[in-house]
Structures are given as C-alpha cells and as structure tokens.
Subunit: 95 residues, 2 copies
Amino acid sequence: MIKVVAKAKLKPEVNPEDYIMLARELVAETRKEKGCISYALHEDINDPTIFTMLEEWENEQALEQHNQTAHMVRIIPELKKLRESGELNIYREIK
Amino acid sequence: MIKVVAKAKLKPEVNPEDYIMLARELVAETRKEKGCISYALHEDINDPTIFTMLEEWENEQALEQHNQTAHMVRIIPELKKLRESGELNIYREIK
C-alpha cells in the first residue's frame, strides 16, 4: 500500500465552499476506482485556507491510473485555479 | 477523529537510519497511548530525506495528552536536531 498527502493552500480571495464542492465531486468519483483503498478531503483545524486529500492506494500502478482518469483530468485544473500553492508526497510505511 | 500529518526534511548530512531508529521508539511508545487510533512512520518514495508521521487520534484532548508524555518530551528534541525543517497540520475530514 502507498499513501498520498496532497496539501493545498487556497488563494485568499477564494471561497472555501467553492473548493469543497469541486473536491467532493472528485472524492465521489475516485472512490469508485479499482485500487483506491481510501480517499478523503480534510480541512486544517487551525487554518481555514488549507485543504488536504489523504489517500490510500493498493500500489503505484493504481495511483498512476487514477491520475489519468477523466474526473482527475477535468477537476484537478479547476482546483488548481483556486490554489495559491500545493504540495504532494507519496509515502510508504516504515515498519 | 482528528488526523495529524507531521512532515520532516532531514539535514543533508544526517543518516536516515539514525532518524528512523529514534522515530521507531516513538511509534512503539505512542501506540500504547489511550486515544491513539494509529501512528506510523512513513518515508517519501521519491525523496529519501523526507519522513512523515501519519497519525489518527480520537480527539484533540488525546493529542494534547500525547504531546506531554515522557516519550514525546524526550524524543522530539532529538528528532528536531536531525531535521532541516518540519511542518505539522491537524485535520478533520470533510464529509
């Protein structure tokens, strides 16, 4: 299993509800994908401009396929327009 | 439930094994704590200097108690000596 932490900081003028609405659509579609173990939108409890997707995937191949899906190709550019910055890390657990 | 993502970038001269050894001790002690749902060390699959603790806690009170435990007070300053930078975010899921 691999895990993804995809953290975004919104532009100050953006209404968080606009970001959440788009991200919810992405969550609903992504959870139907093969190889997706979990995929959930989170808000920072101390900073209302930070939103992070916490994801679990069976393997890297599943994640690569996810990145090519129609919903990702359509929604990610829309989300990026609302972000001031973003960072994405892919992790494996150290036992 | 709340989730914590605690990401660290090691100083370039640090041996990652030294960081992992200390962090493993923290993992073992923390998993015994009341209110700890999960607590696991992760490595970035693309950057061998990035290590991130992914944590799930029952509530903020459990996390506050965790921060005052003897193992945290003892081990966190040791880990910080090995880090170039770090960031910590606390999240709740948006359903």
